[in-house]
Symmetry: C2
Subunit: 404 residues, 2 copies
């Protein structure tokens, strides 16, 4: 018997330190030319931790470090720099990541194994460790928590945050998330970072269960072209400050927690897609009536990752032939003769055949910023979504002129 879920509402002026017992700061310490480039999150007490990391066989030093750190089930702080990914820097990379961890721990007077480390920026250049360690000394526990979201940006044009509140077992609980990534679709730095804090009390193993399942429908649905990063990291800290009865089994409280988590991760995922490098449009692909959720998500991801679909949307061109071609190449078993396709509600293909549409009406729709591509496979009951951006001159410019 499932009870009704408690309402979830957004705290518009929240930040990563809004959940009880969390603190954060972000500063400019000299890794980038001018903008903020170092930040941390700190919890008054050790928090349950869960993480998901890149599946790339080439893994940045901080990813290697964090995979060990979260084995203990608890962390108390996360230190993050932008401007340098500390990836593919040889053996010195792990030494640098450990130095970041140790210096942060000393500054906060906690054990090093309670500190996770993240880096994002250019690959293959040694981390300027002296700049980082000097910078850590400049961070405050009760700093400007809003600045953390700024400090982790690279080519992001906006900061990406969301804070929500709800109730679990009669206790008010808060969850906040921050992410960076200007185009997971075609990652520039090839890095997406996400950090989520909550004052919910939950065991590390259930936290990991929730996160691992969640990313399949949220962040992973904006990982489109297989250009998997060396640094991708999502960490969740849950410090129990809300004093709800600890979530230790997959009960109704756990269900409520999963819905909160999905609200935060989906909002951040869409924010990343919306801020794709050079993007002029947000593409949302919804696949209905698939045989299973995985298949629905695969089809959605294939469409939103197609360079041909992305350039067509940039050109406001209803070239749906590229969409059906992407569906056919998705690796999911489909029957092209029964599929429908619509663009912002206008049907362009029905039962596998072209449908005449009003060109003027279509033109108005494709001029919108938000483009919804809807597919009906007529083959089951499952649904899946994926998000991305269009492929533009701006994307080429940003990525052609990055390191030099």
């Amino acid at each position: 018997m499932t009870k009704l879920l408690s309402q979830i509402h957004t705290i518009t002026d929240g930040n990563i330190a809004t959940p009880k017992g969390f603190h954060a700061d972000g500063q400019h310490v000299g890794l980038k030319h001018k903008s903020k480039d170092l930040g941390w999150i700190y919890s008054d007490v050790p928090a349950s931790v869960a993480g998901v990391f890149t599946t790339n066989q080439v893994q940045a030093a901080p990813v290697q470090l964090d995979k060990n750190v979260i084995q203990n089930g608890q962390i108390q702080a996360i230190i993050v720099n932008s401007g340098n990914a500390n990836a593919v820097t040889g053996a010195i990379g792990l030494t640098h990541a450990k130095t970041m961890q140790a210096v942060t721990a000393a500054q906060l007077n906690i054990s090093p194994e309670l500190v996770a480390v993240s880096s994002t920026g250019v690959i293959g250049q040694p981390l300027p460790i002296d700049t980082v360690t000097a910078g850590i000394a400049q961070l405050y526990i009760d700093g400007d928590a809003d600045s953390f979201a700024e400090a982790i940006k690279t080519t992001d044009t906006v900061k990406k945050t969301i804070t929500i509140q709800s109730e679990i077992a009669g206790h008010q609980v808060t969850m906040s998330g921050v992410a960076k990534g200007s185009g997971m679709i075609h990652p520039n730095m090839a890095t997406m970072l996400g950090f989520i804090t909550t004052d919910v009390s939950i065991t590390p193993s259930l936290l990991q269960t929730a996160l691992s399942a969640d990313v399949e429908t949220s962040f992973n649905q904006i990982t489109i072209d297989g250009d998997t990063s060396t640094n991708d990291t999502v960490l969740v800290m849950a410090n129990g400050g809300a004093q709800n009865p600890p979530i230790t089994t997959e009960n109704d409280d756990f269900s409520q927690f999963k819905v909160m988590l999905n609200t935060v991760t989906t909002a951040l995922a869409i924010a990343i897609a919306n801020d794709g490098e050079g993007a002029t449009k947000l593409l949302t692909v919804t696949v209905n009536h698939a045989q299973d959720g995985l298949g629905a998500r695969m089809v959605a991801k294939k469409i939103v990752g197609s360079s041909l679909v992305k350039t067509a949307m940039f050109g406001q061109d209803p070239n749906w032939g590229r969409i059906i071609a992407a569906i056919g190449a998705s690796g999911v078993n489909i029957n092209p003769d029964i599929i429908d396709i619509s663009l912002n509600g206008i049907t362009v293909m029905s039962a596998g055949a072209p449908i005449d549409f009003d060109a003027q009406q279509m033109s108005e729709q494709l001029a919108q910023h938000d483009i919804d591509i809807a597919i009906d496979l007529h083959d089951g009951t499952a649904t899946g979504q994926a998000w991305g951006s269009d492929l533009t001159y701006g994307y080429v410019k940003i990525n052609a002129l990055y390191t030099t």
Copy 2:
């Protein structure tokens, strides 16, 4: 005991009708605004045929037709139009393809089942069949054979042909190939077509064996981003006009034939990569010391298909971090700590760590049209290659403004 292979030389003024007993023509019949848009190849006698087709589940009508046609092992003619792909056009599509086949057969006074049909162009618009059938009446058996390569172009900027000669069992044999596709890397029409004629005498089954193996290292190594076409087709006709002892077993003559075939297919594959939509550069990726050929090809393909690598090369930016990230995400088991990477002969990464290089020298190399990316996996003895083009403003322009 393998004998030395006979020398292979190129016939610079050859065309698809140079092998004995072949004829071809190409005309403008009104499917496109101005340029040639209909052509055929005809053999004096039925020829052994082999074909490979798109793996997309959405298959254009002519692909569906040809898959049946080649089951008989012989064809005598191929009719090809550009300007319309006859794909995703509903049930009428197959009717139109069969009409093309029947009208061509009548015109040539041969049986319809000896005629293969190919189409390339926009997806989802009904083929203007009256224009096509009226056009077929305008084709000549001994027409301008050079025009065939023109008639199958879409956004291709140059025609792609090669003709070679060699000896098999003391007989002079000729093989000629023509292809279209302006960027299989990111196909625009999502179509690559290839037609190869030869006067070698060989059984249909050995011809198919040779072709199926060959495309794995040639055309498939420019099929990079998974945007598999609805129309991709490669057909080989071998009419026996050279009067060599028929190749009926995998003997030395067969080996010689395979080398000839690979010479033609690789040249056409590279020509397609070199004419990629909006391309300013030809990228050749060579992977050495892999555990097996498939792994080597997968790594090479992943690199040359990475939007990040392609934009970096357009920007003449030695951003090798994107190359190692692509290697790590290739799905092939690798050890990043022992890999070397070089760009046009300049080592940028050695044993997994950055190598200082002369910036001026690198800058001169990346200004070249031909960029060679060489990877040493230090993990075996196999080699693989892939070819592609850079990702440019021109690519976005061409694909943003296609149908409208």
